[in-house]
């Protein structure tokens, strides 16, 4: 019989963590068949060390077409950590000898990722007014990472992204005139290639940020990282879907664009507000099409879950948000 994940983890940890006597409290957190996240404690005489395993199990090596791959993710986190960006510390990159598949082990960072808790709970009341500005500063540091020290990643442009979204939308084969309107607007308003190409996190929003009462503690999930227009990240975090009801606070329901931009520019980088707006429209459409994709996967299986089905019915949320962006009924914008 094959050794359990717990046994393999204990054996792996012993090879690089001096003094470790084993592991405890291993719990699988989330993910589908091709990618798993585990939380566990490294048992150590000086006190247990909280750890996270992120891996593709043996036999699930290939990343989906948009994904950077777990090796690249580990390297990005190491670079981010070294540059002083809030980030978990990567402790070990899996090797074939570990027999755990591909991936890495990182330190567990305490804090909250659930948006509604970050936006409502009393313990974050002190952090909330500072977060929009702080997140601007974090993004500026991400965009300042030197490409020569980063792994190979996809190079994306606005035109390429529009073409991908159009292809995904056409594959759904279900008419959504508001999506056509948005695609048309994006084609007509494409600002062209960015004069500066930087690392783009690609999914910088609630859920991928660990927040503590003191502010941002870690940036997670570099799966969609690529090289492209840095303004994409600023637009994506302003998408209304990440405001969770706080629609007058565009930056994740936390604060204003002005605060985000001020935090960004305080790090010596420039904001192009028109490009940010363009990417907000793109991001809203992208999330809408992703919701439709969930519905498709629900239909075709194997994940025939209610949750996926119901996410399909959230795509209309992005339609109203696209209309609010592109055909506002009052000249007042949130």
């Amino acid at each position: 019989m094959a050794a359990s994940t717990e046994d393999l983890l204990a054996r792996c940890v012993a090879t690089w963590c001096a003094g470790a006597t084993g592991i405890a409290n291993a719990t699988r957190l989330s993910g589908g068949a091709s990618q798993e996240t585990w939380s566990f404690d490294i048992v150590h005489p000086d006190g247990n060390i909280g750890a996270i395993l992120r891996r593709a199990p043996p036999g699930y090596g290939a990343a989906p077409d948009r994904a950077a791959g777990l090796g690249a993710e580990a390297m990005l986190m190491q670079r981010a950590y070294a540059a002083g960006i809030p980030s978990p510390r990567v402790m070990h990159v899996l090797s074939p000898a570990d027999e755990l598949g591909t991936g890495f082990i990182m330190g567990r960072v305490d804090g909250e990722t659930i948006p509604r808790k970050v936006l409502r709970d009393e313990q974050f009341a002190g952090a909330r007014p500072k977060l929009a500005r702080q997140l601007g500063g974090v993004l500026a540091k991400i965009h300042a990472l030197s490409p020569s020290q980063l792994p190979e990643l996809r190079r994306m442009t606005a035109a390429g992204e529009i073409a991908e979204l159009e292809r995904d939308y056409r594959n759904l084969n279900w008419p959504r005139p508001v999506f056509d309107l948005a695609l048309r607007w994006l084609r007509d308003n494409d600002p062209g290639p960015s004069s500066e190409v930087t690392l783009v996190h690609g999914d910088f929003r609630h859920g991928n940020l660990i927040i503590g009462p003191d502010g941002t503690r870690a940036v997670l999930d570099w799966e969609l990282a690529h090289f492209g227009d840095p303004m994409e990240d600023l637009g994506w975090i302003c998408v209304n879907s990440w405001r969770f009801g706080e629609i007058d606070k565009p930056v994740g329901g936390l604060g204003s664009r002005e605060e985000l931009f001020a935090g960004y520019e305080a790090e010596g980088r420039k904001v192009d507000a028109a490009r940010v707006h363009f990417w907000e429209v793109m991001g809203t459409l992208r999330w809408g099409i992703m919701c439709c994709g969930m519905m498709q996967r629900f239909r075709s299986g194997p994940d025939h879950s209610m949750e996926r089905a119901m996410i399909g019915r959230r795509s209309s949320e992005t339609e109203i948000d696209l209309l609010r962006l592109l055909a506002p009924r009052h000249r007042r914008r949130a």
């Binding site: 959504r176 056509d180 209610m306 119901m310 209309s316």
Partner: protein, 131 residues
């Protein structure tokens, strides 16, 4: 002709049972899944209640905008294609109003508590769900 109670009444009754009698006994992931299930049943109830009128109104608007008849899906395909080609746009008379009304009618079924929808409802009676 099928007999009473109607599907709407049955689903409504099941959702109320799950909400009032089963939910208090649930916790953790099962409670989360149950909440999703109840939301799904509530959505179906709203669709069964609202769809007929909103579809009829949408169909009437589309036949007038496009100057032709067809099924709701055919007409929506024609509109989507016209917008994609740039033959129809926000400058076309009646288009913005049509897209807004159609979208408001979708939200009334899908997510009536969505904040953007609540905000737009407050803007005026003309955007209320077709009833």
């Amino acid at each position: 002709m099928q007999d009473e109670p109607t599907p709407t009444e049955l689903i409504h009754a099941v959702a109320d049972f799950l909400r009032n009698d089963v939910m208090p006994a649930m916790s953790g992931h099962k409670a989360f899944k149950l909440r999703v299930a109840i939301n799904a049943l509530d959505l179906v109830t709203r669709q069964l209640t609202l769809e007929q009128n909103s579809d009829a109104a949408e169909h009437a608007r589309l036949t007038q905008l496009l100057g032709k008849d067809g099924s709701l899906q055919e007409l929506n395909r024609a509109l989507a294609e016209g917008i994609s080609k740039g033959e129809i746009g926000l400058q076309t008379s009646g288009i913005a109003e049509h897209l807004w009304q159609t979208t408001m009618d979708k939200l009334a079924v899908d997510q009536p508590n969505y904040a953007s929808y609540r905000r737009e409802l407050e803007r005026g009676s003309s955007r209320e769900p077709t009833s």
